[in-house]
């Protein structure tokens, strides 16, 4: 699926026009122990995936619990991130979803960008949903709470949750490095294993991409 140059530009333009440039949090160090506290809430492979309820770009409330009994894939999303743009240009995610067309698999995108950040907000994500032929919900996590609970670091960063609500995979979509689509699709492998009732062989990989644009 080709992305029209103008369409993506419109997305990027809308995103960038909405944001204010700042020098960002350079060389600040977190308070000692603070990230440990956050780590205490972090999702862990083999444990129950953190519950959440978020609103999607159509204003509908979506709860993780709605999908108990299905395999759920969470994809951290930012339509302004060049690595995400690369994957959507290659249709990586939709192709993966299509692999499991008739299976009980749900794919949710989550954007944890704070208001004003690149690619954040209802408008930018609603536009992306249309332009990129996304048919499943894009959830807005503008406080970043869900992202932090999962330890989402990059866009894309993917998590696979089994039918019992247990986290079975966390990491990159594939073994690429962000410059091109990879050869091995880790998420597809994790979903296949989970549907077959098998343990996911590669349960954790290092995600790649742009940083999730949390607020300070």
């Amino acid at each position: 699926m080709k992305i029209g140059r103008r369409n993506v530009l419109g997305l990027v333009g809308a995103c960038v026009a909405a944001m204010c440039f700042s020098s960002g949090a350079l060389a600040q160090t977190d308070k000692p122990g603070k990230s440990e506290d956050k780590q205490g809430k972090l999702a862990k492979i083999g444990e129950a995936a953190p519950a959440f309820e978020l609103t999607d770009t159509d204003g509908k409330a979506v709860k993780l619990a709605d999908y108990k009994g299905k395999v759920v894939v969470l994809e951290w999303f930012n339509p302004g991130c060049p690595v995400v743009v690369m994957h959507y240009g290659a249709d990586t995610m939709n192709k993966t979803i299509a692999q499991f067309k008739d299976k009980p698999v749900v794919w949710l995108r989550i954007n944890s960008g704070a208001p004003g950040k690149q690619g954040a907000g209802k408008e930018a994500n609603a536009n992306a949903k249309k332009e990129w032929n996304i048919t499943t919900p894009i959830l807005l996590d503008e406080t970043g709470k869900v992202g932090r609970n999962y330890g989402a670091k990059t866009t894309p960063h993917c998590f696979v949750i089994n039918q019992d609500g247990v986290l079975v995979y966390a990491g990159a979509i594939d073994d690429g490095n962000g410059g091109a689509v990879g050869k091995t699709n880790y998420v597809a492998e994790a979903v296949t294993a989970t549907l077959n009732g098998e343990t996911v062989a590669k349960a954790e990989t290092k995600p790649y991409g742009c940083s999730v644009k949390y607020g300070s």
Partner: protein, 283 residues
């Protein structure tokens, strides 16, 4: 890979929507390829540099362990038998971001040193050394970029005296920030960096230092909380290991030590494993 980067480039690079104050991405990063000496000598060390100038408040990524981003990559186009690399990456600095993200980045200027191997039988005369550079440059947002760089150089005879190029200064600056191997310890001299392994942590002691920072490479074993542990004032740095993960313990990366003025900073390459017996002050 080139095709996909082109796709990103087509989507994002150089296209500015009306009303935006963002600089066009080709102005954010400029890169050039320069040689230390005007003459390339077969069989001797020949150094080139990839010299990046980065728009203020934007950054490029180091080639080590980051939570996000990607370092610049290069595809070389070289004459027959020539080799470029391995690239020497200077010490970066830490960038901590909301959400507990830690990256290691470069701002304003990045000079990558590149050893060029010139075959012993290379003919004297002009040669062109070229590379396709691709990068991700980020501020609050990220933009991809790419450029072709090249240098027209001369292969001289084996005994030729060399004349410094116009950019000799950037080579010495880059070497100052390049990691050096730890000096071998001797019975009488434990060296500038002492380290001791205790349950779940390694403590680095650099006598005389005023500030320390550690930047892990991709080969470093998992660490517990490098945002908290990776940087400290003074002469000690205690880095907790992530003992949940199995696998050999290895502290691999760069140690960046600042000293009181006028003493210059020291940058060391660390590749430490616990030795039998626990504590050790060796390298």
């Amino acid at each position: 890979m080139r095709g996909s980067w082109a796709m990103i480039g087509a989507a994002c690079c150089g296209l500015v929507a009306p009303g935006m104050s963002q600089p066009p991405s080709e102005d954010l990063v400029r890169v050039r390829l320069v040689a230390e000496f005007r003459e390339l000598i077969p069989g001797r060390e020949n150094w080139l540099a990839l010299d990046f100038t980065i728009e203020p408040h934007w950054h490029l990524y180091w080639d080590g362990r980051n939570d996000s981003g990607m370092p610049p990559t290069f595809e070389w186009r070289l004459p027959e038998g020539f080799k470029a690399g391995p690239i020497v990456w200077p010490a970066p600095h830490r960038l901590v971001m909301p959400g507990g993200l830690l990256d290691h980045v470069y701002e304003n200027r990045l000079t990558l040193l590149v050893p060029l191997t010139v075959p012993a039988d290379a003919a004297a005369g002009p040669v062109k050394i070229a590379a396709d550079a691709k990068w991700l440059v980020c501020s609050e947002m990220c933009l991809p970029g790419d450029a072709e760089v090249s240098a027209e150089l001369t292969v001289a005879g084996a005994g030729t005296a060399r004349t410094p190029g116009a950019d000799a200064r950037i080579f010495s600056d880059a070497r100052a920030r390049a990691p050096k191997p730890l000096p071998k310890k001797t019975p009488s001299d434990p060296g500038p960096v002492r380290f001791s392994w205790n349950a779940g942590a390694v403590e680095l002691h650099v006598p005389g230092a005023s500030k320390l920072a550690f930047y892990p490479s991709n080969d470093c074993s998992p660490l517990l909380d490098l945002i908290a542990d990776g940087e400290a004032k003074g002469d000690r740095l205690k880095i907790r290991l992530n003992t949940v993960h199995d696998g050999p313990v290895r502290l691999d990366g760069i140690l960046d030590a600042a000293y009181p003025k006028p003493q210059p900073a020291m940058i060391w390459r660390l590749d430490l494993v616990p030795e039998r017996g626990g504590n050790d002050s060796g390298g």
